[in-house]
């Protein structure tokens, strides 16, 4: 499969009064045409800023540093002007966010908003654009789309609004869909509906997906490849099955061990990761996970580990320098 997006050495820094906040600090990944990549991490890990950087939506005081490369179909997005970029955004690359209520305009009907995106990018008239809006709303499973196209966002439930966002994002047949926590604000049964919808649409339309989430369960269901972020960096990436079954970075391992699974009880204590996420204004020297790591040794505090290939995945840990580790994971029943 051909490569659609390649990000190299991405650094997105925020120049705040308290100092330089290195939110994303050297991130590399790629997505193949039709591929799905999940970026998982806790708050402050830099996952959302990574997505915004690809969209070129980072505002002052933030800046994508000049050494960063964001190659989309071979073109470097960081070198495009705002005008060219606005033709790409919402058209070839589109994005959906966590809270559809804040991304939808409350004073326009949902039909108007979907049609606007179509008119803007596809040189069609109002009538055709509205017809396309109905078609898209049917595609995302909104019942009686002909009628609901005249609804305002507040007249819809959270799940329906997220469907509208997806309809809008897909209305111009994007090659890449970036979804930032698309189901986090939804209840679990509605989340299941939206995840099923996204899977179905991906198969039907063949687009690539960059999925940003904190939820390891959502990652496991949705993507082929996963990148685990910690403190502004990708600490591990690879095929989702291998990364979950045999995590090579101690952070990935600790994360997987810290979540309660269905059927576990309090008689078995959870594996907590000690300490707190470090301050992005002052990342620790050496490996950024070292202060919280169970396997830490001297070298970790002084030398920053590069990302080692431990086929089929890669991990930025000194323990992987000499090959694969055997992580300690809980027995998963059933």
């Amino acid at each position: 499969m051909a490569e659609l997006l390649r990000v190299e050495g991405l650094q997105t820094w925020f120049y705040t009064p308290s100092g330089v906040l290195r939110a994303v600090d050297g991130v590399d990944f790629s997505i193949a045409e039709g591929g799905t990549l999940g970026v998982v991490g806790e708050s402050g890990s830099g996952k959302s800023v990574t997505a915004l950087s690809v969209m070129q939506l980072v505002d002052k005081p933030g800046r994508v540093e000049s050494s960063s490369r964001i190659l989309f179909e071979g073109r470097d997005l960081t070198e495009l002007g705002e005008r060219t970029m606005s033709e790409i955004r919402g058209n070839v690359i589109s994005m959906i966010f966590q809270e559809p209520m804040t991304s939808l305009n409350p004073v326009f009907t949902v039909g108007d908003q979907i049609a606007e995106a179509v008119e803007l990018h596809q040189q069609v008239g109002r009538r055709d654009a509205m017809a396309r809006a109905v078609e898209m709303m049917e595609l995302v499973g909104i019942p009686s789309a002909e009628r609901r196209i005249h609804d305002y966002p507040h007249q819809m439930s959270g799940g329906m609004r997220q469907r509208v966002m997806i309809a809008m994002a897909l209305s111009c047949n994007p090659k890449l869909l970036i979804a930032d926590e698309p189901t986090t604000a939804l209840d679990v049964t509605v989340q299941a509906q939206i995840l099923e919808l996204m899977k179905e649409l991906r198969e039907r339309l063949g687009m690539s997906i960059l999925l940003i989430t904190h939820d390891l369960g959502v990652i496991a269901e949705m993507v082929d490849e996963v990148a685990v972020m910690y403190a502004g960096r990708i600490v591990e990436r690879g095929p989702v099955e291998e990364v979950f079954a045999s995590p090579q970075h101690p952070y990935t391992e600790a994360l997987l061990r810290s979540i309660p699974r269905l059927g576990m009880t309090y008689k078995t204590p959870l594996n907590a990761i000690r300490g707190i996420v470090p301050n992005p204004l002052d990342w620790p020297p050496g490996c950024r996970f070292a202060p919280r790591c169970d396997y830490v040794f001297e070298r970790c505090a002084s030398e920053d580990p590069p990302i080692f290939q431990v086929a089929p995945q890669r991990a930025a840990c000194w323990l992987c320098e000499s090959g694969r580790r055997v992580p300690a994971l809980p027995e998963v029943s059933r």
Binding site: G159, A220, L270, V277
Partner: protein
């Protein structure tokens, strides 16, 4: 801890909490939002009872009503053998000491100008427990018990991370040595690595202080992990209540089955037979007749619209409110 022998600490019977819905210029009451609608619930001394459900199901309202932070529309609540709804004034205040609540971000919603020490000690002062010096000592003790340094007492809440703030909230509840703690979504706002720290702490504290918990949350795996028994709520009613293990192994209500199957689990590649419920939760202002779940239930038949199924015991303390308990729910296989 879940033996039937443990005496009840809190018992609610036929509990209803309705909120008036007002419309128009005259703000006339045009209906009632039935947030909690006929709940019978017993919390046994020493257990953790989990209360799980989706947003709007009434779980938080129920938690608050049980502590009488909200006045029920009707029903009975007995706490430690005392009729809670008959109490008022100083007697109610004295009783409140034994029933504490921790929210998603309790400390974030408190006065930001008070030091942590003041915030934690506030309850002691209100209830006039011990003298000033003893109180200070009790506050520092409580902070230590939740894993914070004594020094934090002189700092302000905004200087702490979410996980630390949740520890402060727990110290604030524990310093009063309550019998019952209602924890309403206590870990929902926390990152996974911090969530596990707080869950472990809750388990430790429960043992150390002989606490009884009502743990309210939307996350099934979290509720199942911490609870001895779990109650599942849908549109103001409890639809299933069972020991955790039985509920997860063999759910009897189709809503519970659907919730379990919808929960995304961190196990890639497992082919899931998922039940995808259609539609959204109906409005609690005008709930469906009969069984409230029938409009989304894959098993619904004519009887479900006519007769409301009672919550009855199907053996070994496994209660369900369904006309077809345990009947297999048709599944659609997923693409994954």
């Amino acid at each position: 801890m879940s033996e039937g022998a443990a005496p009840p600490l809190l018992e609610a019977r036929e509990l209803r909490t309705y909120f008036p819905v007002r419309r128009g210029v005259l703000r006339r009451t045009v209906g009632h939002l039935q947030a909690v609608d006929g709940v019978d619930l017993t919390i046994r001394t020493g257990e953790t009872l989990g209360l799980v459900g989706e947003s709007g199901c009434g779980k938080s309202t129920l938690g608050r009503t049980l502590l009488r932070l909200l006045e029920p529309t009707s029903g009975e609540i007995r706490f430690d053998g005392v009729d809670l709804l008959a109490l008022s004034g100083s007697k109610l205040k004295a009783m409140r000491r034994h029933m504490q609540i921790v929210f998603q971000d309790s400390v974030g919603s408190l006065d930001p100008r008070m030091t942590v020490g003041k915030l934690v000690g506030e309850g002691l002062a209100i209830h006039g427990i011990s003298d000033r010096r003893q109180r200070e000592e009790q506050v520092l003790d409580a902070l230590e018990r939740v894993g914070l340094a004594r020094e934090v007492a002189s700092r302000y809440p905004h200087q702490f991370s979410g996980g630390q703030r949740q520890r402060i909230g727990l110290a604030r509840a524990l310093v009063l040595r309550p019998k019952l703690v209602v924890a309403d979504e206590p870990v929902s706002a926390l990152d996974v690595s911090i969530q596990s720290q707080v869950l472990n702490l809750l388990v430790e504290l429960k043992q150390a202080f002989n606490l009884t918990y009502l743990f309210v949350a939307h996350d099934l795996a979290v509720v199942g992990y911490i609870s001895d028994r779990v109650a599942v709520m849908y549109l103001g009613k409890i639809v299933e209540l069972a020991p955790s293990e039985a509920l997860f192994r063999q759910p009897l209500h189709p809503y519970t089955t659907a919730l379990l199957s919808a929960n995304p689990e961190p196990e890639p590649g497992r082919r899931r037979q998922r039940i995808v419920l259609t539609g959204d939760v109906p409005s609690p202002i005008d709930p469906p007749s009969g069984c409230r779940f029938r409009t989304r239930c894959p098993l619904a038949e004519a009887i479900c619209a006519e007769v409301e199924p009672p919550l009855i015991d199907h053996g070994a303390g496994h209660l369900a409110a369904c006309h077809f308990p345990g009947k297999p729910v048709p599944r659609t296989s997923s693409h994954a």
